[in-house]
């Protein structure tokens, strides 16, 4: 019995983390129907920001969490503005800028590697050629809105890789350990509960309550729900759609940032690729509970966390991922909109 309770505690604490990340997935999906695969990596960036706050700036754990939340909110908005928005509403100027920047980087690297030029000359050549490319694109291609959601999805995967390897370039590939610990273990009826586990659980619950309050009771929350239901109609009613989307990204990303710091402290480890597994699991949690539904993400997170722990604890740790994915498949077959999802008929 003690062992069972201990496993429940283990499952709840890992589930809280999945839930925190899943909330961000769900919010973004609810608004623009985009599965933001870069979300797991924003969580990773949050972990690193917290790490730097604590180790370099000697901040307390709580202020490090706040710092990571603010930084990730800004990063989330930047990603949305630079990577996703140009796909929704492309402009000629945007195309020109993209061609210029991407062209410059590519030509610069190729010129450096093959011609063995120094930085200055490679830069000059790259600038001239990428300007030419930019103008060529500017005058020949007329941008159309891309109704295809696949384009945004692929872009999200690209952003994900960009964040991972940019962080690897800045901080190095090694696993690092967190400088701060939330020490202390309480024993309750034979069950070991660490202070960190309690903190993670409480913060997750609190953040989810605040989030529900924002979405249900505030003006911006009403705007979010309006955009989610019908973006065009919301725009006609005077809702600033772009701003609402940006705020959604900001909130979702700040939650991921908080999760990053909490995980870093709890497991005492972080590395640039840590967002992959957690991002994927949180995505499954979001789908499990019904993607686009906020309590669904919470339910999904806890369900996946406890399932994993129980499979590992009573069967074999090798099957835990398999079981989680099988559950995902079963849910998708039986109830495609998720446990808490309502089946909405597509209007033709």
């Amino acid at each position: 019995m003690t062992q069972f309770l201990q496993q429940i505690v283990n499952g709840l604490s890992i589930g809280s983390i999945y839930a925190l990340i899943a909330l961000g997935y769900t919010m973004v999906y609810g608004i623009i129907k985009l599965i933001n695969f870069a979300h797991g990596d924003i969580y990773m960036v949050g972990a690193f920001v917290g790490f730097i706050c604590i180790s370099t700036f000697k901040m307390s754990v709580l202020s490090a969490i706040l710092c990571a939340m603010v930084f990730c909110a800004l990063l989330g908005v930047a990603v949305e503005r630079l990577a996703y928005k140009p796909l929704r509403n492309p402009t000629k100027a945007g195309l020109f800028a993209t061609a210029l920047v991407m062209g410059f980087i590519l030509i610069y690297l190729v010129a450096k590697a093959t011609l063995e030029l120094d930085n200055l000359w490679a830069g000059v050549i790259a600038l001239v050629l990428s300007l030419a490319l930019g103008f060529f694109v500017y005058f020949t291609i007329t941008p159309k809105g891309n109704p295809n959601r696949i384009a945004a999805l692929i872009t999200a995967i690209g952003v994900s890789f960009f964040l991972e390897y940019a962080m690897m370039a800045i901080m190095g590939p090694n696993n690092r350990s967190y400088p701060a610990t939330l020490g202390g273990t309480a024993t309750l009826a034979g069950v070991q509960i660490t202070f960190a586990q309690i903190l993670i659980f409480i913060i997750t619950l609190a953040l989810m309550l605040i989030l529900t309050f924002i979405v249900q009771k505030t003006k911006i929350g009403r705007a979010m729900r309006a955009v989610s239901t019908d973006a065009d109609a919301a725009a006609l009613m005077g809702v600033n759609v772009d701003r609402t989307i940006s705020i959604t990204f900001a909130i979702g990303s700040s939650l991921a940032g908080a999760a990053g710091v909490l995980v870093g402290i709890y497991y005492n480890t972080l590395n640039p690729l840590m967002g992959m597994t957690y991002g994927l699991k949180a995505f499954i949690a979001a789908v499990f509970g019904g993607i686009g539904i906020i309590p669904g993400a919470m339910l999904g997170g806890f369900a996946i966390g406890i399932t994993e722990t129980m499979v590992a604890g009573y069967w074999s740790s090798l099957f835990k991922d398999a079981i989680v994915y099988i559950i995902l498949i079963v849910i998708l077959i039986l109830k495609p909109s998720g446990l808490l999802g309502k089946n909405v008929r597509e209007k033709v």
Binding site: E116, T140, T269
Partner: protein, 384 residues
């Protein structure tokens, strides 16, 4: 359509123009040694340390004046990726035309490299690929050009079992192993074989994968069992977390591991206070008082400003083995170097005296290091 073709044509011309201009450098006046290491990715610490050891050996050889040509290292990062490793060995052998290759650090990558590299006939010495099968082809024969500077897993796993059963007198073991690594599975198999032969029982065997960070479920599970020692064949990244989480759950039995524990990151991840009663097998420890080793430690500290670990020492030994073979062969032709390497006997390295057996594996001693508060406190020699 026409516009598209024009654009494609322009792009092609540009690429050809750029690649066509690459400068050719004459390099017959140099001895080239390829370094193929995990400089990024999950096991980067091994690769980085070994590359440092190798570069130190090359620097010393250049300074010694024993070679009439300059020795240069050509270093690539395989990013702990088997496909990348094969691509690099192909490049080293066919484009860079090296005399020999040092690396990679881990068994999985070494297997990928040996298989590809053997066809090109280039000598490869891995400093630390310990899996038994790493140097063997599908028929169980050693690849002609594959060597290593470390002892093999069955050697190391058996030594650990011997230590646990005979020296510690613990006969009920739990094994927690990395199910995705040839290294860990090999160690697990040889450990349990030897351990059962010595009268021990494996109470439970739990597996994990290298992306796991939460081990509380399996640790809670084994906590209900009756056992007196844990053996963790695996690498420092996960082992550190397992040790920390086990100690936090109140599991205080001795923990024994392989040379994958040998990294300062283990201490960071587990926390020094959790690293008591923790032991690991290794080929090298700075505790030794051998004068050659002292000189190596001194030189390494002077160059890199830190103490060498086992991987740096193995990288150093592997490179010196190759250099000794090049010197003996009197030529940097790979076939001649391979012959010379086969004939080397009693090579004195900083990780012990090396002679190759028929499978190109070195015969050398195993050390068991004991950690006290995360520091290496003592090391004793154990027999497999």
């Amino acid at each position: 359509m026409k516009r598209f073709f024009l654009a494609a044509l322009a792009f092609l011309t540009l690429t050809l123009l750029l690649t066509g201009c690459k400068k050719e450098t004459a390099s017959d006046d140099k001895i080239k040694i390829g370094l193929n290491f995990e400089l990024s990715g999950d096991v980067a610490q091994y690769g980085i340390a070994e590359a440092e050891g190798a570069e130190l050996a090359i620097e010393q050889a250049n300074a010694s004046g024993n070679f009439d040509k300059e020795i240069v290292a050509i270093k690539y990062d395989n990013a702990y990726n088997a496909a990348e490793t094969s691509a690099i060995i192909t490049r080293l052998a066919t484009e860079d035309k090296v005399s020999g290759v040092i690396g990679p650090a881990v068994s999985g990558m070494a297997m990928a490299q040996y298989q590809a590299g053997n066809q090109y006939g280039v000598v490869m010495i891995s400093p630390s690929a310990t899996a038994d099968a790493a140097t063997l082809d599908a028929n169980g024969n050693a690849y002609d050009f594959a060597f290593r500077a470390c002892f093999i897993d069955s050697y190391q796993g058996a030594a650990a079992a011997n230590f646990v059963a005979r020296d510690m007198e613990k006969l009920k073991a739990v094994v927690i192993y990395d199910s995705g690594s040839d290294y860990a599975i090999g160690l697990y198999n040889t450990f349990s074989e030897k351990f059962t032969a010595l009268g021990g029982t494996i109470v439970a065997a739990e597996a994990y994968i290298d992306s796991d960070t939460d081990f509380s479920a399996i640790l809670t599970k084994i906590n209900g069992e009756d056992f007196d020692v844990i053996y963790i064949p695996g690498y420092y990244n996960q082992a550190g977390l397992i040790i920390k989480q086990a100690r936090e759950l109140g599991i205080m039995v001795p923990i024994v591991g392989p040379d994958g524990f040998d990294s300062p990151t283990l201490v960071d991840l587990a926390g020094a206070s959790n690293l008591n009663d923790v032991y690991f097998t290794t080929a090298y420890s700075n505790l030794s008082t051998d004068p050659d080793q002292a000189a190596f430690i001194e030189a390494y500290k002077a160059k890199y400003g830190k103490e060498p670990n086992m991987f740096a020492a193995l990288g150093y030994d592997a490179t010196n083995l190759l250099l000794a073979a090049i010197q003996q062969a009197g030529s940097s032709d790979p076939a001649a170097v391979q012959q010379a390497l086969l004939n080397i006997s009693g090579f004195k390295g900083v990780t012990g005296t090396i002679t190759f057996d028929e499978y190109h594996n070195p015969i050398k001693p195993v050390l068991m290091v004991k950690l006290v508060n995360g520091e290496q406190a003592e090391s004793i020699e154990v027999q497999p």
